[in-house]
Symmetry: C2
Subunit: 110 residues, 2 copies
């Protein structure tokens, strides 16, 4: 039904999936990379840098902000965005735990 049955999964599984979903679009990857590189930037910078329309970038920024991965505050007519370090580090921890499940070298499957 296009709707995820999140109630049957653990909180950790849902949280990993939510953050992964945010990373699941190249525009959002690009936004995050740009923010790391520049420390802060405004929406217009990203529109130029990335080449999607302003409402589209704005929408992607909103998703990242809703998740808490970035912060934004108004400065005159523009909005200054940056990484939310706390949330980022939380995500980093979650993903490390998930990704570093080491595959046991012997698995019987081709």
């Amino acid at each position: 039904m296009g709707i995820t049955k999140s109630e049957i999964f653990t909180e950790q599984q849902n949280e990993i999936a939510l953050i992964a979903k945010a990373f699941g679009h190249p525009a959002r990857v690009a936004i995050l990379q740009h923010l790391f590189k520049m420390q802060t930037c405004i929406c217009g910078d990203l529109v130029e840098e990335i080449g999607l329309a302003q409402p589209t970038i704005s929408q992607h920024l909103k998703e990242l902000k809703n998740l808490g991965l970035i912060k934004g505050n108004v400065e005159g007519t523009s909005v200054c965005y940056c990484i939310n370090e706390d949330k980022w580090n939380e995500a980093l921890g979650l993903f490390k735990e998930f990704l570093e499940l080491q595959p046991n070298t012997v698995n019987s499957c081709k």
Copy 2:
């Protein structure tokens, strides 16, 4: 348009997004975790373990397999699935690079 303009992004950004999208559903997270824990398993195990219908699990397995993150081979009437170590390590590398972009401690944004 529900369609991603992947041509305007780098190969690396698209690859990160593709893999992240695979991680972007708790059922697929659960499948991968179970595979790590058990080394190998069959579709039926996951149906029981996770509690989604068999066609649904089968679909999620297909996505993971198409991406190369898991492998599966027929064994009698069942199919034995396991992590594809090579692809997993590739993903691990990509994500480490992406996630460990350290936020510079001073960013001027609230």
